[in-house]
């Protein structure tokens, strides 16, 4: 593949057309379409080098994302996409790693990986399309299903206490935690952009309705259906008296307080702090180690090690 290929110097603009791949296989009306549209918009707006965009996912309806985006991508196994994406991120600092998945994929089977990806603050952007149900496997209870939700595995209504995604992510150590809604395209774009600009483990939970197995799940947060979509009023640090009451995104306790509000709660950035990423810390260790060794060649380093074993 490396033989002389004419490489065009000029780069074409990254358009929606260039980013579009297979036609999505989702049910008509599925919330995930809008999330995909928002992702295209973000990529179009930011004009990253096409080859450096990586779209990864686990398994679920939402996780079919990579097929619908014309970028380098991988469709992995159920629940393990966070470590997959971590491997890409840690070994290739030149790439922009985007990860997509569902609530079952992220909070149930992948729950422990999520904890550790967050704690290590791996530099990637993770969008979780939360539909409160297992879509792909056709209506089983998910870790975010509300108590009372009637599914095939809880025919008389779910009884297990659901995960609170915001609280789980903040306590795990994620350094950017936001919540959005598939019916609010501009808000999704804003949140995704802020997430991708954040250095570290950035997560956006997007309420994305499964019209097939949990229709109406989010009506109470859709204004045109009589619900309320209330955005977090972030501090502007402008010394104005009304700033006092606004949310400080670096205040962990305040973020928990917001996360505790009853459904549908608030949307926007709950938490956003700077903490060194694992990427940066490992990179520094590698650089220090190499400097100490006087940047010798690999052969010289290994030879020296063997000399000590003689």
């Amino acid at each position: 593949m490396t033989t002389a290929i004419a490489i065009p110097e000029e780069r074409e603009k990254l358009t929606k057309k260039a980013l579009t791949a297979d036609h999505p296989t989702w049910c008509p009306g599925c919330g995930d379409f809008a999330v995909l549209a928002a992702y295209y918009k973000v990529l179009e707006k930011r004009q990253l080098p096409h080859e450096n965009i990586v779209t990864l996912a686990g398994i679920g309806c939402s996780s079919r994302f990579p097929y619908f985006v014309n970028s380098h991508g991988a469709h992995f196994i159920h629940g393990r996409a966070v470590p997959l994406a971590s491997g890409v991120s840690l070994s290739r600092p030149d790439l922009h790693v985007f990860l997509f998945g569902g609530d079952g994929d992220g909070f149930s089977i992948g729950g422990n990986h999520l904890e550790h990806g967050a704690r290590k603050n791996i530099n990637l952007t993770y969008v979780i399309m939360d539909n409160f149900v297992y879509g792909l496997t056709k209506k089983q209870t998910s870790p975010t299903s509300p108590i009372g939700f009637k599914s095939k595995t809880d025919p008389t209504g779910a009884i297990d206490h659901p995960v609170n995604p915001m609280k789980k992510l903040i306590s795990a150590g994620a350094t950017f935690v936001a919540r959005s809604h598939a019916t609010q395209v501009n808000h999704m774009i804003q949140m995704m952009e802020r997430a991708m600009d954040h250095q570290g483990f950035s997560v956006v939970e997007i309420l994305s309705e499964c019209v097939e197995f949990f229709p109406g799940a989010f009506d109470s947060s859709i204004p045109r259906k009589g619900g309320t979509f209330t955005v977090i009023d972030e501090k502007k640090w402008d010394n104005a008296p009304e700033d006092e009451a606004r949310h400080d995104v670096t205040d962990e306790i305040a973020a928990y307080r917001l996360a505790n509000l009853p459904f549908p709660g608030l949307f926007g950035v709950f938490y956003d702090i700077d903490r060194p990423t694992k990427n940066a810390l490992e990179k520094k260790w590698i650089a220090d180690t190499r400097t100490k060794l006087g940047n010798r060649s690999d052969l010289e380093i290994l030879q020296k090690t063997f000399d000590r074993m003689k």
């Binding site: 080859e51 097929y67 196994i77 996409a81 290739r92 790439l95 590698i286 290994l302 063997f306 003689k310």
Partner: protein, 605 residues
């Protein structure tokens, strides 16, 4: 160093008892097995390691055997060193020398001493059976003399080095080389520590052991080979082999006896600009490694059996998505937590078949510590060429024993490792049916405008999911053909011993040494016996049937259970492959390495 003429030649030392003699002339020996038995906190491991390293520096062949105590802070422990002037294939069935630190060491290990062997014991702790006349008894108040030399507080630290001094005297070891090794080992610590060690060594060396032992020994000098010898254990050899193979990224989760590989890689890879990640669990680890491989590096993950079980789902993805990956399994006794510090070869089925669906993977097994180094290079070569997961099987005995081997020619062997992110033209297909897959990792510009998705769903040549019966058949065949192509490419193992005859032993993994020694012993006795050893186990190399056809019986020697039908794991695979009823099994499941005697009994009965 003295090189007095050969007085008498013995295969192994056979001193007689007697009074003091002033003119102790060293007896030349070719081979000696020295077993140090004590508690692990006495540092017998490090005394043994000094001996091994010394032998390596003297161009002598050396092999060690140690037991890892299952308790954390001590407990009974042994270290056995076999030093030879010729080829040393196993750590020895019996010891020529037993050093017993405690009564329990004596009680448990005296039956490993061969008749006429020397029992060197700490007379402050050990009361040998006075009726026992088969051995030469040499009592030395090791504890008392160490206290005398170092003071009471240092005694537990110094006994091992005191004994090293004693052995140096008895075996005419090169004292300067040994002191240099001690200095290298302790020099990094405070000067006090080094001085204490040297005092202990001197005290042991000065002890008039000639008063109680009539013969001293001297290994036959060997011609220094033109390549220097390096001394390391199997896990080190594997880790450095991976580095030589250009592997720069990986992830793992600790478990005995795999952990030291990941510890080495964690500390070493940054020197090479790479990174090893400690993951939250084994499935996380293999997923991280797959992310690294997908990103264009050939990554490594590993574990022992229980952790490999956790990785299997993701390894299936690697088969389907055709991602190169190295998976090390340092086998131990199983199933479950099993015998965590013992040796077994019972994960062969798991390596070959431990997956869902038809998920071809390559399985290699290292045969010696030296081979741990080279098998890593071979595994990396195959993984890159065929874009597939490759298992490397090792085991507890290889992981922990120290051997000396010819220094590898690193300048020749070192592989480069940067991801190939060169632009790909419009013809690029990630899963072309007519040639091997070589992915375009992220960062590669796709000049045709189509970016590839690698996937665990069945797919067409472009990576689009498909349920097409035709495509699933074609793609399954494509993945399987990699193994068939590899089988045709790899060498048929050489027969050790007669090219034809009655019994052919077939081994794999760490049984290499005892099997080959058994063949040598049988042939010295005038019997015919032959062996082949498999490094490539899945797929098997083409052409084994021709070798089998020249023997009456084919006996597969392995450390696993014979199963419900009477055949061990490799034996069952060979029987299924060749449908040859003369393929039989010699198995064992006591958690210990094969003794040469056990193989001879099984083969020649």
């Amino acid at each position: 160093m003295s090189t007095s003429p050969v007085v008498e030649e013995h295969e192994t030392p056979s001193p007689d008892t007697g009074g003091a003699r002033a003119d102790l002339r060293p007896e030349h020996i070719r081979d000696a097995v020295i077993r140090l038995a004590g508690n692990s906190q006495d540092g017998i491991q490090s005394a043994g390691a000094f001996l091994a390293r010394l032998a390596g520096r003297s161009s002598q062949d050396v092999m060690t055997y140690m037991t890892i105590p299952s308790t954390i802070s001590g407990g009974a422990s042994i270290f056995q060193v076999r030093i030879g002037s010729g080829e040393v294939l196993s750590a020895g069935d019996e010891a020529d020398f037993l050093v017993a630190f405690y009564q329990h060491s004596y009680d448990e290990h005296i039956h490993y001493l061969r008749e006429g062997g020397v029992l060197l014991y700490d007379s402050d702790h050990v009361q040998p059976d006075p009726e026992e006349k088969r051995f030469v008894h040499v009592g030395v108040p090791i504890t008392g003399l160490t206290i005398e030399a170092l003071g009471g507080t240092a005694k537990d630290k110094g006994k091992n080095i005191f004994v090293l001094g004693l052995l140096a005297k008895i075996f005419h070891f090169d004292v300067e080389k040994l002191k240099k090794l001690i200095a290298e080992r302790f020099g990094g610590k405070s000067e006090d520590v080094l001085n204490t060690a040297l005092m202990a060594f001197q005290a042991g060396f000065a002890y008039p052991v000639g008063n109680v032992l009539t013969r001293l020994y001297h290994f036959e000098p060997v011609e220094a080979s033109d390549r220097a010898q390096i001394t390391m254990d199997g896990n080190q050899a594997l880790a450095y082999g991976l580095i030589a193979a250009g592997v720069r990224y990986g992830a793992g989760y600790p478990i005995t006896p795999w952990s030291s590989i990941m510890e080495i890689l964690r500390a070493e890879l940054p020197k090479y600009g790479g990174l090893f990640v400690q993951a939250e669990d084994e499935l996380g680890a293999v997923s991280l490694a797959l992310g690294m491989s997908y990103a264009g590096h050939l990554a490594i993950t590993g574990s022992a059996g229980p952790g490999i079980s956790l990785k299997t789902e993701a390894i299936g993805w690697a088969s389907m998505a055709e991602i190169p990956l190295l998976v090390v399994n340092v086998q131990r006794g199983g199933p479950s937590t099993g015998l965590p510090t013992n040796v077994e070869q019972s994960d062969l089925y798991q390596a070959i078949f431990g997956g869902h669906g038809d998920s071809p993977r390559v399985v290699l097994a290292a045969s010696t510590v030296e081979d741990c180094f080279y098998i890593a290079l071979e595994a990396a070569r195959i993984a890159r060429k065929y874009s597939t997961p490759v298992f490397i099987l090792s085991d507890t005995s290889l992981a922990t024993r120290i051997e000396a081997f010819d220094e590898p020619d690193l300048a020749q062997l070192m592989e480069n490792s940067a991801p190939d992110i060169s632009p790909r033209d419009g013809e690029f297909k990630p899963y072309a049916l007519d040639h091997l897959t070589h992915h375009a990792p992220p960062g590669s510009r796709m000049l045709g405008g189509k970016y590839p998705v690698v996937t665990g769903l069945e797919h067409d040549e472009m990576g689009h999911p498909t349920g097409s019966p035709k495509l699933h058949t074609a793609m399954t065949a494509k993945r399987r053909r990699k193994l068939q192509d590899l089988a045709a490419e790899i060498p048929v193992p050489e027969v050790h011993g007669d090219p034809e005859g009655d019994v052919l032993l077939v081994g794999w993994g760490s049984t290499y040494g005892p099997i080959h020694e058994a063949v040598n012993v049988a042939r010295e006795r005038g019997e015919t016996l032959s062996a082949i050893h498999l490094r490539h186990i899945h797929p098997l190399p083409d052409g084994l049937e021709q070798i089998f056809s020249r023997f009456q019986r084919v006996l597969v020697v392995e450390m696993n259970d014979e199963g419900p039908y009477g055949y061990g794991q490799l034996a069952s695979i060979l029987r299924a492959r060749y449908c040859d009823p003369k393929i039989r099994s010699l198995t064992k499941t006591d958690g210990l390495t094969f003794r040469v005697r056990e193989i001879l009994e099984g083969a020649l009965q």
